[in-house]
């Protein structure tokens, strides 16, 4: 066996084989991903924002599938076809590079990446108004009619969540119920260390940072329950900051909040006035 490169006619045959294998696998895999896996991708469609995330996940999985396949098919093929036969050490073809291939690769990856970034930015700012992520005190992705949203403050503390409703007299509750079909503006803050309010089925995650009013827009579409977890390590019982929240009909919400106001009426006078963030005592080392 010589060390010369293979005859030129054999090179396109390898490439053609690889492309054919890849095309067949892609034709099978991508519809599976979009039609079978897609509807099960998290976080579900309980809110408009969660639905936008599902769409983003579906598109990206469908886009990444052919990329994974081409790399795996190429590596698998070359490792089998170009392996050394026999124990003698012989050299392969002295190819140092191929400018057209490199240019095509750079161009293709750049286009895909920039398109993804552009589409992601559009989703984030325009179509999904923040996609459920905390936007900080000065949000830029504002949904239509956000001025009429129901304001709900989420207060993270070590190690539980409480909620305040400024439009209902600033009543504070330790369970969260939200009305469906209404625009909701969550204001997430913390009393001590950094937590993160993660409402999985709502598609909401916003860090609760002391001294910061982190704003999230969410539009529930369906009733049901959602799990609330803390997603930022906050101390001993971080993993235990778990609650179940509920999205209920508007009437059910009204009667719930009225019941809460009645139950909390004795304690209401002790609560501080509603504010975007709080600095409760003790601040420095106590004692």
């Amino acid at each position: 066996m010589t060390a010369l490169p293979e005859p030129v006619a054999r090179v396109p045959r390898h490439l053609r084989r690889i492309v054919v294998i890849w095309a067949v696998l892609t034709a099978i895999a991508v519809p599976l991903v979009v039609l079978v896996l897609g509807p099960h991708l998290p976080p579900g469609r309980m809110t408009a924002e969660a639905g936008a995330q599902v769409d983003a996940n579906t598109v990206m999985t469908a886009l990444i599938t052919p990329i994974v396949l081409i790399i795996l098919v190429y590596f698998g093929y070359t490792l089998v076809v170009f392996r050394a036969r026999g124990s003698a050490i012989e050299d392969g073809a002295p190819v140092f590079g191929h400018a057209p291939t490199q240019t095509m690769w750079v161009a293709f990856t750049s286009i895909v990446v920039i398109a993804l970034a552009a589409w992601g930015s559009y989703t984030l700012i325009v179509s999904a108004h923040g996609a459920g992520g905390g936007q900080g005190p000065n949000p830029i992705a504002l949904p239509n009619g956000y001025q009429k949203s129901l304001q709900v403050q989420v207060i993270g503390q070590q190690w539980n969540w409480t909620y305040r409703f400024p439009s209902y007299g600033g009543v504070e509750t330790d369970q969260l119920e939200l009305p469906t079909g209404v625009g909701i503006e969550l204001h997430v803050t913390s009393l001590d260390v950094t937590h993160s309010f993660w409402a999985y089925e709502l598609g909401v995650k916003a860090d609760a940072v002391p001294g910061v009013d982190n704003i999230v827009f969410v539009h529930p579409r369906k009733t049901g329950s959602f799990s609330i977890r803390c997603a930022e390590l906050c101390g001993l019982w971080h993993g235990h900051m778990f609650q179940t929240g509920y999205v209920v009909s508007r009437d059910a919400f009204k009667s719930w909040i009225a019941a809460q106001q009645k139950a909390e009426s004795k304690n209401q006078r002790y609560l501080p006035p509603y504010s975007g963030h709080y600095f409760p005592e003790p601040l420095r080392r106590a004692g």
Binding site: I155, T162, D192, G235, H240, F242, K266, P282, R285
Partner: protein
């Protein structure tokens, strides 16, 4: 080096490594306070606790802490409690510490209990948050009860645990209901970790002091 010496050296290395790992696991990782059972059995049980300003013994003598009375009537330094499932649990807490004040006044209202809490025998619908010294809260069961603090100028304050009823204290009693089996954490919500920033370090983040487990069996 002779082969047998090499084996001896390798063996010694393995043995030392295993011993260090075992020591790490047993004497650090697995350490937790002993589980103390509530007095009585289903459907009714009783827990008696006390909170003290400084425990007075052990590795952290000036840490604030809970203690629990075991079924034999002795005070034990533990916060891991066992109660029966589907029962009413009657809790009595002797509170010997002075007030620090609640960070979130919301927890001044008792929740998740059957009926009302009583402070020194008097039913109390809600507590002024500035008077709170500690809370007893089981968030997973929705239970949260504020514990009123002893006045700063009260006479005969308790120095270190276990405190006796002759010293200045407040008695808080309440009842909560347990459901199915499980292990739940419980904690204090008053930032009473003196000397730690934001008052929530040290004893406030240590099982055996201001945090514990409730084992419902």
């Amino acid at each position: 080096m002779a082969r047998s010496m090499k084996t001896a050296a390798v063996g010694a290395g393995v043995a030392i490594g295993a011993a260090l790992i075992a020591y790490y696991v047993v004497s650090y990782l697995m350490v937790r306070p002993p589980t103390v059972a509530a007095a009585g059995t289903a459907p009714s049980a009783r827990i008696t606790l006390q909170t003290v300003a400084s425990i007075g013994f052990g590795p952290h003598p000036d840490w604030v802490s809970y203690l629990v009375k075991n079924p034999q009537g002795k005070w034990q330094h533990s916060t891991v409690l066992r109660v029966p499932a589907h029962s009413l649990v009657h809790v009595t807490i002797y509170q010997y510490d002075t007030a620090t004040g609640l960070r979130n006044p919301y927890w001044g209202g008792p929740r998740g209990i059957v009926g009302e809490m009583a402070i020194d025998g008097k039913p109390t619908p809600t507590l002024d948050p500035d008077l709170a010294s500690h809370t007893f809260a089981i968030p997973d069961l929705g239970v949260s009860v504020p514990l009123e603090g002893v006045a700063d100028d009260a006479k005969n304050q308790c120095g270190s645990a276990p405190c006796t009823l002759g010293e200045a204290h407040k008695t808080i009693t309440f009842t909560f209901r347990t459901g199915k089996r499980g292990t739940f954490r419980w904690q204090c919500f008053v930032p009473c970790g003196a000397g730690f920033i934001l008052g929530f370090g040290g004893p406030m983040q240590s099982v055996g002091y201001m945090d514990g487990y409730l084992s419902v069996v």
